[in-house]
């Protein structure tokens, strides 16, 4: 999801909750309030949370399928091509012996599928990314332990520092903190 360009205004507003249930409520309320550019940060995956935030991306499975197909083609193609590129009589077997070629074809199907799956996941998540405005907040390190955060991004049409903070107050988070843009632009 596109992030606010550095420069004017805040990167976003971060609300901290101590229990996942509270975060889920907060997300729903924020959506009802009309916020669209939202993100949540949790120590572990929470079933359905992303969907509540409006996540409906099926590209990873598609890439995986694509990888599988490419792998199969490469695998079988390679074996057929090389056997024709330098034809050699091997134990009186025919040059192209599908039974013998199947195994490598399968292996490459698997290999490419997995490479595409994980590759696309990282790419679409914009990872690896070693620096991020959120990392500047001290409390955020708990996002990987036991705290649950809701982030309203600065480029949300409804975002306005004071009003957003007021709205978040109503969700009774344990803490609210504005997120500054990082000085160093990436």
């Amino acid at each position: 999801m596109a992030e606010p360009a550095p420069g004017a205004g805040l990167f976003g507003m971060l609300a901290e909750f101590d229990r996942p249930e509270r975060l889920i409520e907060a997300v729903e309320k924020a959506r009802q309030a009309g916020f669209r550019r939202l993100d949540a940060h949790t120590p572990f995956p929470i079933e359905g949370l992303a969907e509540r935030l409006g996540f409906a991306d099926q590209r990873v499975p598609l890439f995986t399928l694509l990888g599988g197909i490419v792998g199969a083609a490469v695998g079988y193609g390679m074996q057929v091509y090389t056997n024709h590129a330098f034809p050699i009589d091997i134990g009186n077997r025919p040059l192209v012996a599908p039974p013998a070629f199947m195994l490598i074809t399968f292996e490459l199907t698997v290999l490419f599928a997995v490479l595409f799956a994980i590759g696309s996941m990282l790419a679409l998540n914009r990872l690896p990314r070693l620096h991020h405005p959120l990392f500047d907040l001290d409390e955020f390190h708990l996002a990987s332990s036991n705290k649950f955060f809701l982030l309203v991004l600065g480029n949300d049409p409804l975002f306005e520092e004071e009003r957003t903070r007021a709205f978040l107050e109503t969700l009774t988070p344990t803490r609210i903190s504005p997120v500054e843009h990082t000085e160093v632009p990436e």
């Binding site: 993100d39 997995v114 998540n125």
Partner: protein
């Protein structure tokens, strides 16, 4: 009930309990003791390989007819062990067996390192190891390609694929925990290390969503992969026209044996870690119980493989095959056959009793015996077949030389070294998945209450 016993203090405590092992290792003296031993063995590895490369394969006991020896039987043994990790984490993940969360991380690591050892063996066993890459298809001055009808080429691709997939599966699985290690790290050095390894993971819900898609897909693909890999390894034998090898039983027989030995090793590691690092409330008796059940099940299937093999031979009654069978039962290497049968299946029967299954020490010993038994089996399958094949004129015994054994010890060193480093520096249990499980269990309870 919850799989991990309810931890007082909830998520934070779990995180601490697991991640702090990596950040601030509890019992360093014991670790160093083990690591010292591992390094000694590792030294043996380097010495053995140097001698091997300097003089040639002749330093081993191999001969004609037994052109393959310990190197190949150990390759199959290690690779077999290397199958449990992926099986456990992938299959159980798909089956939503949350109890897996306490085991999958180190099971996967074990897999990785076992596969590394397995991969090294065929490499050093070559007559001209410096040319190993000729098995890979690449445009070369000879304009020759690999021979894709050879089981060895199949193996090359299978093992390579398996290694790559296992590494990726293990790595993206560990990233979130590495992130929490990064966040808890106080020392600059560890912050940088984990910071880089975590790829900047920040637990974004969108990230989690895609991560989950990729993770589950990989798991789904890994299960058939595991099966295919060891089937291919079995073809290394089954594709040769040698009595005692040419058998259609081999692929399933090998896969089951692999899972069998793998689960045995996982159980051993689970039991050791549990005691060494006080993870009693993460690796609970229930886990041991389930592992033991898996062990028993795969063991019985392997036993069926043995029986089927004998039955096939008797049923076909082919002269040469019969000869090989009788030789296995009563020949010079009968010890390896009966060693395999006894060590694999006799102590195993104790696992019918729950009391034994949850008794760590007993389970450990049984698993150990299975690991040894499976080694016997690999050795038996290779040697008894080759040392007496078709022509009686070429019969000759095979005895591993000192350098065969020293390299074997060395390989164990490679495994131990890698595994100890993993235990020392990385989260050995998937903390975020334990937390997730905890959360979902709670959810279920609340629904139950109303």
């Amino acid at each position: 009930m919850t799989d991990a016993a309810p931890t007082p203090g909830g998520y934070a405590a779990i995180t601490g309990e697991i991640v702090d092992i990596a950040l601030d290792y509890p019992d360093r003296r014991a670790w160093w003791a083990c690591f010292g031993l591992a390094l000694l063995l590792l030294l043996s590895f380097f010495v053995s390989v140097t001698v091997l490369f300097w003089y040639g394969v002749g330093v081993w006991g191999n001969n004609i007819p037994v052109a393959w020896g310990l190197a190949i039987s150990n390759y199959i043994w290690f690779l077999g062990i290397g199958h449990a990790g992926t099986l456990i984490s992938a299959m159980l993940l798909l089956l939503e067996q949350h109890w897996r969360n306490s085991l999958n991380r180190f099971a996967e690591a074990m897999t990785l390192f076992a596969v590394v050892c397995a991969g090294l063996y065929p490499l050093v066993h070559l007559g001209r190891p410096w040319l190993f890459y000729w098995i890979a298809p690449y445009p070369n001055t000879m304009t020759v390609w690999p021979q894709f009808k050879s089981p060895l080429t199949w193996d090359f691709f299978a093992v390579l694929t398996y290694l790559t997939v296992s590494i990726l599966f293990w790595y993206i699985g560990i990233v979130p925990d590495v992130a929490s290690a990064r966040d808890r790290a106080r020392k600059r050095r560890t912050q940088v290390f984990f910071g880089l390894a975590a790829l900047g993971w920040r637990g974004s819900a969108h990230h989690w969503a895609r991560w989950r898609q990729a993770y589950r897909l990989t798991a789904a693909i890994a299960v058939p992969l595991v099966v295919s890999v060891h089937s291919e390894v079995s073809l290394l034998f089954a594709a040769g026209p040698i009595p005692g090898w040419t058998s259609t039983v081999f692929p399933p027989y090998f896969v089951l044996g692999a899972a069998f030995s793998g689960f045995a090793v996982v159980s051993m590691i689970a039991i050791v870690l549990r005691h060494a690092l006080g993870l009693q409330n993460l690796v609970t008796p229930r886990h041991l119980d389930l592992l033991a059940k898996l062990l028993l099940a795969t063991g019985l299937m392997t036993a069926y493989g043995y029986w089927a093999e004998v039955f096939d031979t008797l049923y076909a009654g082919e002269h040469q095959e019969m000869g090989t069978l009788l030789d296995r039962l009563g020949g010079v290497y009968a010890w390896s056959y009966w060693g395999a049968v006894v060590a694999n299946f006799v102590p195993l029967q104790l696992l019918w009793f729950r009391r034994v299954r949850v008794q760590p020490l007993l389970l450990f010993l049984i698993s150990l015996s299975v690991t040894v038994g499976m080694w016997f089996e690999r050795y038996m399958l290779l040697v008894t077949t080759l040392y007496r094949d078709y022509l009686v004129s070429s019969w000759r015994e095979y005895h591993p030389s000192f350098w065969d054994w020293s390299l074997f010890a060395g390989m164990l060193g490679v495994f131990l070294t890698l595994f100890l480093l993993f235990v020392r520096f990385l989260p050995i249990i998937s903390s975020f998945e334990v937390k997730e499980a905890l959360f979902e269990e709670k959810g279920k309870k609340e629904q139950a209450h109303g």
